[in-house]
Every structure is written in structure tokens, then in C-alpha cells.
Symmetry: D2
Subunit: 162 residues, 4 copies
């Protein structure tokens, strides 16, 4: 049976509300909740790498992601990631040639009623199983190659460069 490796790194998708502090905080269980809601029977092996806003990621963090992707035996890897520097991390991974690596995330945290988290994670979960080797970003119902995608910060959507 096929399986998928999932590296979670934090980002908007992972946020929940802490009622004591009144702040958005990270929820380490968000991926499992989404897979359960989706009645997913695929073998998704979840490995938390970090819980960070992608604007707070530095080169050490991106090296960590790169090395985990390289070292991992799985050839189909899904990465949940903040949207702000998702393109940058995808570029960082572009040296990896023999794997299918897909990055996804959300504009609205899973904990909100109107979140796009379930949609994006599910969409990307198919992408990582079906596309040939390469580095992709899956957002807004579309699959983008790492070298032809940008975040439109005004619209809050991803789009092709050309």
C-alpha cells in the first residue's frame, strides 16, 4: 500500500485560539483532525518539523526542511507551511530531483468555520500521489511548479508568474 510522508512546519493552517491569552497559537493536532474529518484511509506518516510562522523562518529552518526531505526514504512528501514564504522554501528544495514534494497551507486557520485548510490539504494530498517528480505548490485548487508561482499578497491567492 502506498503512503505519504507529511512534514508539518506550522503556518496559518496550524493556528487555533487560546482563550486564556486571547492569542492565536499553534495546534499540534491540526493535521490529524483534518485527516480524520476526511475519513482518510491513506497511510499518512506525520512528522512535525517545527511550528513557525513562515515569516519567522530563517535559513537554518529551511536547511532543516531541505535535509529532512533529502534524508527521508519516502519519495512522496507533503509539507504544510505558512503561505508568506512558501515559494522561497519551494525554491530551496528545487535541488531535489528524484522525489515529488508538494507544499500547501491555508489563508485561514483550520480552527475557523470558513477555513480553507481542509480543502488545501486534501487537494495537495492527491497532488503528491499523482504528479511526477518535482517541487510543487498546491493552493487555490491549482498545482503550481516551484519556478512559476508567486503569492499575490493583495488577493491572498497564488498565481503563475507567466
Amino acid at each position: 500500500m502506498s503512503s505519504v510522508r507529511l512534514f508539518s512546519t506550522g503556518g496559518t493552517i496550524a493556528k487555533k485560539y487560546d482563550e486564556i491569552s486571547g492569542e492565536l497559537v499553534f495546534d499540534g493536532k491540526h493535521i490529524q483532525k483534518i485527516l480524520t474529518q476526511g475519513r482518510c484511509t491513506l497511510d499518512v506518516k506525520i512528522t512535525p518539523l517545527m511550528l513557525k510562522d513562515s515569516l519567522d523562518m530563517n535559513e537554518v529552518d529551511r536547511d532543516t526542511i531541505l535535509n529532512e526531505c533529502k534524508d527521508n526514504l519516502d519519495s512522496t512528501i507533503l509539507i504544510t507551511h505558512g503561505t508568506d514564504t512558501m515559494v522561497e522554501s519551494a525554491k530551496k528544495l528545487s535541488s531535489i530531483k528524484e522525489k515529488t514534494i508538494v507544499l500547501t497551507g491555508a489563508m485561514i486557520p483550520y480552527a475557523f468555520k470558513n477555513s480553507d485548510a481542509v480543502f488545501n490539504l486534501a487537494f495537495a494530498l492527491s497532488t503528491v500521489q499523482t504528479l511526477s517528480h518535482g517541487i510543487y505548490i498546491s493552493m487555490n485548487g491549482q498545482n503550481f511548479r516551484w519556478d512559476n508561482v508567486q503569492k499575490n499578497k493583495k488577493e491572498g491567492t497564488f498565481e503563475k508568474l507567466i
Copy 2:
């Protein structure tokens, strides 16, 4: 820009609660609601074919689906469908060779808090854009070929025959 044709046929995914009758009824707007929640920017051309429980579908209904798939100019077609006879409809479509056709649905209607509708539709939306020509069922985070899938009615999940 690429696009996807979506034929909706009803099924569990499309049900909502009618508070006057106290019955589950069909909601003709469920697909658009899911795409909006997913912040989908892909061009999804929705064509409602019917609103039926799949157990109520007869050969005339399946002929309608078959003919619409054949006649339509789009080569990537997503079909939302009740789960009970989804495999039967997939088999019916297997004579079509030059298109990618994906069937999906839900075990729990979109209107429920714990629905798998968003997950399944989003997952299938990537499948239909990425897999080569053929007839597929996308459920439970997995893509099944039409001739190697069955519904496990006890578990409420889809699984391979072999």
C-alpha cells in the same frame, strides 16, 4: 488557463436539512459553497445533471451521465455522485478512453459539521487535473482505478479489490 468540467448528480454530498419538513433534501448550491470556502481560483464549470440518491439512479440516468461525458468538449471531468452506486457508474463510463474522469462524493453531507465533503471534492479536484486518461474514483484520500475498487458498506470506505 486550464479548467475542469464538474457534473453534479446529487448523492449524500449534496444534502441539507429542510427545517419545515424535517427531511434531508438536495442543496443545489453545495458545490459552489465548497469551492468558495476553498478559495478556489481554478475555472470549474459546474453543470448539474440531476439531484438523485445513487440508489435511485437507473440505466437512463447512467446513460445521461455517459452521454454528457462523451459529448462534452472538456477532457477533464469531475463527477459528484452518491457513494452506493459510484462504482457502477464508473464502470459504465469505462468505454471512454480519451478523457480523465473522476468520481467523488461524501459519506456525510456538506451541511454537517463533521462532513467529509470538502476533503473529498478538493482531493478529487487535484486528481482530475493530474492523472492521465482513465476513469477513477477518489475517496478516503486515495485514487482508485474504476476496475479495482469497491465500497466497503460496513466501514463506509472505499478499498481496492486486490
Copy 3:
């Protein structure tokens, strides 16, 4: 510390979706889920009496409710009940003079995203603690005396007779 007795009898408020049968079924845990979501610290003593659509209730059922209300030591009693015969059950209880008894329910089951269950139960939970002895129906943000209320079946709302 004050407390409230809650008799649950079923009705629309208690329904959830059974994904195997495709039917709406009763969820014995709906009251506790609502109280938890409401972060309720009041001592609500839940006693399930039955799980029935109110259209299926007969005189034996109503006698059960009446006797439980009479025999119970608590003088503040909240009853969750189907809306179709809620007025009939309220009338049945009108012989009880020394207690505050409030009936409530929902037009849309708790399991649906757009349910009025939390609103109604919370509203009624205040009513039962604040109104003087008598039999009341709490629905649609209003408290009705048992002898001046009817269900408008066309609108799906409760209203005064005069």
C-alpha cells in the same frame, strides 16, 4: 450553588447523521456537547427520558414526562423536546404549580453547521433559572407561556396565540 435538572426526550435537536445507514439518528451526547461548547459551569443534571421524534410520542410518553417532573426534587426543570408536539407536552405539564419548567428544542439538529440548537438550549437555560413558577416554551429568542403559544408550521417558528 444552584442547579438545573435537564430531561432530554429526543426531537430534532438530538439528531446526527449515520454515515453507514444514510439516516438521521439520535445522538445521546448532544446536550453535553452543547454545554461544553458554551463553557457552562452551571450544575446541569442531565437525565435522558427517551429519544423520540415528538410526532411519535404517545400519551404514555407524556405521562412519563409528567411523572418525572412531578417526582423530581428539583424545582427548575429544562426539557429538550421535538417541536411538533412541544405545545401539547407543555399543556400536559400545566397541572404542576410549584416548579419552573421550560421546554425547548431546535428546528435544525445540533450536528448541522447552521443549527439553532445551541442558541435555543442556552436561551432556555437562562429562562429556567430566572422565571417564576410556571410552564414555558422558549424558542426563537422568546419565552412563551404554555397557554399562549403555537407552532407556525409554515414558518417553522413559535408565536403567541393572541
Copy 4:
């Protein structure tokens, strides 16, 4: 027909997620959304006074609330308010003797799946219609007099002083 005046002042109950900024912001429509979900037919006259975290309220803000409560012709007034200084505002209003004024709010914004906003607002909406003149805080399924309540910041709940 009876009616209730509702002054909204902001607070946690009113927050939603802004997907462009990634911040929690105020949603001016949260009260109407809750009343609609509750299928409320009561005449609730909503008057927005401000949109503030209650920690950011100053004496000018509290004077505004006090004067609005005094000047308004309605004698049943519901105030939605941040929880952190709700007790302080209630105290400020205690000079008003001939009205029933109820303050409520939420620990988790309405926009979140697990919010207590609907529960609290509905509960308070009954309180304001049923209790005699006085100033009250309605939270956690309980009604507190203004001079016998405190927020337990560690638990995120309201409790009596004695």
C-alpha cells in the same frame, strides 16, 4: 411586542480572521449572524457603540456606554463586551436603577468552530427579558449580579465573589 436594545462594544465575541493581514479583526456583523442562526424572532435593536478590546477601553468609553444606557428609552438593554473589563463596566452602570442591563461576551470569537459566542448571547438574551431591574453579567450558563462576580483569568470563567 417586547423588544431588546443591544449595544455592541467589541470584545473577543466580535473577532474574525483577516486572511490578508493574518490578524484577528472586528466583524461588525457578528450579532446579526448569531441572531439569524438562532432563528430569533424577537425584536433586537442593535446599536454599535464601539469596536474595542475591553482592555483598551478607557473612562471615556465607559462614560459613553453609561450615557447611552441612561439616555436610551428601552428598559431592557443587552451589552456585548470584552470579558477582561466586563466587571468594571458593570460596576460603572450600577447607578442605573430602573432598567435591566445585562453584559455578556465570549472567550472564543464567533468565527471559531468551538466558540461560546452563540451560547452566551442567547443565554443573556433571555436574562435581559426575565430578570428584574439591575445590572448583571451572564456568562458560563449563569447570571451574576454586578457586585458579586469576578473573572477567573486562569480558568477563563466567571464566578461569584462569595
